[in-house]
């Protein structure tokens, strides 16, 4: 599903963010990427969605060799993975339902499909009643739900999330996690970078720990802190 093989990433300014990392994530897994600040978590996410290119090594996503992707193929590749960010990244001039619909419009979905699927995902994230509101009229937690709805509306095989709860209070964060777990139960692979210790400990999922650009621990049903 997601396969990193001896991947290194050195940014243009010469900073070695990742140093020879390898891991494999199978279909349907739920994986936390943890580690202190500047460890390289976001870099991994950026490599998965081809926002950055790996300096060395190979990355396979969904059977596609990401390193071989040409520029004009990237949009089509990105449609197969859903992304959620800490800062939500909703289109400010579109309502909740228009934001979700946009993801369907770009893939050429018909109006009929859009009218059917958008309310479905919105009620899945519990926002059906706010469909006609604009992002700035919503709380952070609600905006993040919209972002999640948009990320999953095209049924991606992978959902990657970079600190999706970073701006939310613990309670709201748990609600978001419930939604993500729900999505995972339906078969979507989830990779989530986070600092939220309590969430990681509570969920008991696979944890990959990154420190200074290397993977220092990778365990099933792990906790945040080292419990050797």
């Amino acid at each position: 599903m997601i396969q990193f093989e001896n991947v290194s990433k050195t940014y243009d300014n010469g900073f070695p963010a990742l140093n020879d990392i390898s891991f494999t994530i199978e279909k349907g897994e739920f994986v936390f990427l943890v580690g202190s600040s500047a460890a390289g978590k976001s870099t991994i996410i950026k490599l998965i969605m081809k926002e950055e290119d790996a300096t060395e090594g190979s990355i396979m996503i969904n059977g596609i060799d990401v390193c071989d992707l040409r520029r004009r193929e990237i949009p089509y590749f990105r449609r197969t993975i859903g992304v959620v960010f800490q800062d939500y990244r909703l289109l400010p001039n579109k309502t909740v339902q228009e934001n979700v619909a946009y993801a369907m419009e770009i893939v050429g979905a018909s109006g009929k499909e859009i009218r059917k699927n958008v309310p479905n995902v919105l009620s899945m994230v519990g926002l059906a009643h706010k469909a006609k509101m604009y992002p700035k009229q919503l709380s952070g937690g609600e905006q993040q739900r919209v972002a999640i709805a948009r990320a999953i509306v095209n049924n991606p095989v992978v959902l990657i999330a970079d600190e999706p709860t970073g701006n939310l209070d613990p309670e709201t964060a748990m609600e978001i996690m419930d939604i993500l777990e729900d999505i995972n139960r339906r078969g979507t692979t989830i990779v989530m970078a986070t600092h939220a210790e309590n969430i990681v400990n509570k969920m008991q999922k696979r944890v990959i720990v990154v420190e200074k650009g290397s993977i220092t621990r990778d365990e099933e049903k792990g906790g945040y802190a080292n419990v050797d």
Binding site: M49, P75, Y76, R89, I106
Partner: protein, 301 residues
């Protein structure tokens, strides 16, 4: 194909909503494009009118060639006519019988005026040829040549007017050149900056679209259509403004009887199509190009 139509409908909808939701920027762009179009309009008005006025004057500037009485009664008229016709740059030549012209003139007079001509012979006026030239810049040269012809008594042309028109035309040519240059530079500069501002404000939006997996062209088209719409709206505003301001000037000038009759301005209803076409065309092109150029940078994510 069906997909294309579906996308196209979405692009149009996106363009309209983009225009409305970025209202301030839309207004700014419209103001800029409208100003540029009006600049072009002023240039068009001046050029069209100067051309038409100088044509009017040129038409009024016939060369009048008077024939001596010896030539007339010596049966030389035909040969003089042939000799004139053999010259280059002639457009038309008509013969005017002096007696007939005299009668025509007298017809238009009242009794008091007629009394002055009492007792004068009917052949008071010489016969003449009225010649029009293809271009007034050739008037002088031809006049000189005709003077050499045997049997020609005198040649009249309005030399001062001719020289004047020639210098005005030269002036307009210079003026047009500089206006076009200034117009192009100013519009390119202002428009690219305004659109850049618009797109910069929406850079985050473009980034998000790319994250979701929109292709470059899917992102670009609504912007381009938006640019075209801005251009067309500007064209309409510029057209309405041009119409009302120009008509006001036209009315003011044509009421002023002190201006001689061939300095007659063109009426807007005779030239509106030139404005409609160049405004709409240029507005749309400027809008589309502006959008296309300034969005290019932000698509590289």
């Amino acid at each position: 194909m069906q997909m294309w139509i579906r996308n196209f409908r979405r692009f149009i909808a996106e363009a309209f909503s983009g225009m409305i939701k970025n209202g301030l920027m839309t207004v700014a762009s419209v103001v800029v494009v409208t100003s540029c179009l009006i600049l072009l309009g002023i240039f068009l008005i001046v050029t069209l009118n100067v051309n038409s006025i100088s044509e009017n004057i040129a038409d009024a500037c016939e060369i009048k060639v008077y024939i001596t009485d010896e030539a007339k009664y010596g049966g030389k008229i035909q040969s003089i006519s042939n000799e004139i016709k053999s010259l280059d740059h002639l457009e038309a030549i008509t013969f005017e019988n002096g007696e007939k012209s005299f009668k025509e003139i007298k017809k238009g007079m009242n009794d008091e005026e007629l009394a002055l001509f009492e007792g004068l012979p009917d052949n008071l006026m010489n016969d003449s040829f009225n010649i029009t030239v293809d271009d007034i810049s050739n008037t002088r040269k031809i006049s000189e040549k005709i003077k050499q012809i045997d049997g020609v008594k005198s040649v009249e042309n309005s030399e001062k007017v001719v020289t004047f028109i020639n210098s005005v035309r030269k002036g307009v040519k210079h003026f047009s050149f500089w206006t076009i240059l200034a117009f192009m530079l100013i519009s390119i500069f202002i428009i690219s900056n305004t659109v850049k501002l618009t797109v910069h404000n929406r850079r985050k939006e473009i980034n998000i679209m790319k994250y979701v997996g929109a292709t470059d062209s899917y992102i670009r088209w609504p912007f381009i259509i938006e640019g075209i719409l801005v251009g067309l709206i500007s064209a309409i505003i510029a057209f309405v403004l041009t119409n009302s301001v120009y008509s006001a000037i036209y009315n003011a000038v044509s009421h002023d009887s002190s201006l001689i009759k061939f300095i007659e301005l063109l009426r807007f209803k005779d030239i509106w199509d030139v404005f409609a076409i160049s405004y709409a065309g240029l507005g749309a092109v400027i809008g589309a190009m502006g959008s296309a150029f300034s969005i290019r940078k932000y698509l590289k994510v």
